[in-house]
Amino acid sequence: MADILQILILGLALGGVYALMGAGLSLVFGVMRIVNLAHPSLIMMGAYVAFWGFRLYGIDPIVMLPVAMVILAATGVLLYKLVFEREAKSAKYSEMTVLLTFAFAMVFEGALATAFTNTQRVTTPDYAVDAIFIGNVFIPLGQLYAGIVSLVLIGALALYLKYSRFGYAIRATTQNREAAELLGVNVNFVGLVSFAIGLALAGAAGALVSFVFSFFPSKHWEWIAILMSLVVLGGMGSILGTVVAAYILSVVAAFVGFFFGATLSTLTFFVALFVVLLVRPQGLFGEKPELA
């Protein structure tokens, strides 16, 4: 019983991190129909911000989190202005952006690796290797903090989208870009801001990841497929779906790992994706497609 509880806790702990990693991706897809394959490499960038803050000045990664968010948001603004703003007008937009962001994933990877080498890094605040023990069940502190921060950020984002004026604009743009434009929403600005928010979330996720996982620039490939699975599973563009999928799958993966071995546990995400494609192609929270 303690075992089961323990695995559940470990699964949930990882789930929190994946949830935040996936949330930004989902937001950007939802609003802009960009499948941002560069998202994991941007998370990596956030992780490096936190890493160097810690390494050079001893700043705690959680304290560095806002800095990472700002830097990444700025990157987002730049990227949007230079690339996606003009891309948005192209006819093959959706599939074009997949390939384009793939290219940028390579650019960021190359840039990070050139700047920081491909040496594996991890920030080492004390809590990252600490845990709270309750009887013989433990809660890893690093992941607990990461999970809490992630929930706070996702919650704030959800509230913002639901109630703020700008949130309205974002939701409206998601549902009908042209109509929003005609009602006085500067859709380009909405795109810009949501892209920046999405990337800020990547920055935040990066700061948290920096002490939960070890990382090096080319590691983002390992994250891409996992995060993408979450987004499809949750239903493309549904942030809630992504978060729920992140938690469910992390827990399932933890159990699979425990009962069937580590190798199969990494398979969980992808096999789940295929099962979902078979039984519910639109994902947990997605819209049913027109043709059955």
Partner: protein, 241 residues
């Protein structure tokens, strides 16, 4: 004095060929204007060019003496020109009330917005009845009512409607044109594009025939309606026997 002047506008999609080749329209305040023309003449294109969705390559669009060229749709809207496109421009997963609220997105005064919404709901009871229903699940006619009602929230000076009667049942078509008259009576200037040309022109004060990307005829609606050339070329009347 005309409220909105479109003069020799040339415009097209992307870097494709010019679709409009010198279209001109004079919009008089408080009147209903109806643009007719064959399919592919560029009627929708003209409205899109006015509201800033398309780049105007040459020619002039002036609103109260100010040029609208180069403005974004949201900026044109703020000037007081509202456009309801051919495909109903609703937010399908927002409720009716949220849709109305989006209509006033560019308003800063929240209380005024709520007041206007209440007024609109008074005038169109169906919207009050369905206020919490998702717009996407309403019937075509209801959706059209909603999108037109929504434009009235801003009290714009000009409303441009692209084929408001398209695909609507005869009973609803009647209602839609009634609403247009109501809006006009409220002092809103109206510019509609209609294929249901008979009804459109009957409802209008001023008629415009757009073809080949240009304005071919322009005049009081009754005159346009009565012109035998127009009747045959555009209104489907058999060759005068």
């Amino acid at each position: 004095m005309s409220l909105l002047t479109v003069k020799n506008v040339v415009a097209g999609y992307g870097d494709g060929p010019a679709i409009l080749n010198g279209a001109s329209v004079d919009v008089q305040p408080g009147k209903v204007h109806c643009i007719i023309g064959p399919n592919g003449a560029g009627k929708s294109t003209l409205l899109k060019a006015i509201c800033g969705m398309l780049k105007i390559r040459s020619g002039e669009v002036t609103f109260k003496g100010e040029s609208l060229k180069g403005l974004r749709p949201d900026q044109v809207l703020r000037k007081g020109i509202c456009f309801v496109p051919q495909e109903r421009a609703l937010f399908p997963k927002m409720t009716v009330r949220e849709n109305l609220r989006m209509g006033g997105f560019s308003m800063t005064d929240k209380r005024l917005l709520e007041k206007r919404i209440d007024e609109i709901e008074e005038r169109f009871p169906i919207l009050k009845e369905r206020r919490d229903q998702h717009a996407g699940t309403m019937s075509g006619g209801q959706q059209q009512t909603l999108s037109m009602a929504r434009t009235m929230i801003l009290r714009p000076e000009i409303v441009m409607l692209d084929e408001p009667s398209l695909g609507l049942a005869p009973k609803i078509v009647q209602e839609i044109f009634d609403i247009i008259r109501v809006m006009a009576a409220d002092g809103i200037t109206i510019l509609i594009v209609e294929q249901n040309a008979l009804m459109g022109l009957r409802c209008a004060d001023w008629g415009v025939v757009l073809d080949l990307g240009r304005t071919l005829f322009e005049g009081p609606a009754e005159e346009v309606l009565a012109d035998p050339r127009i009747r045959e070329a555009y209104l489907g009347a058999k060759k005068a026997a």
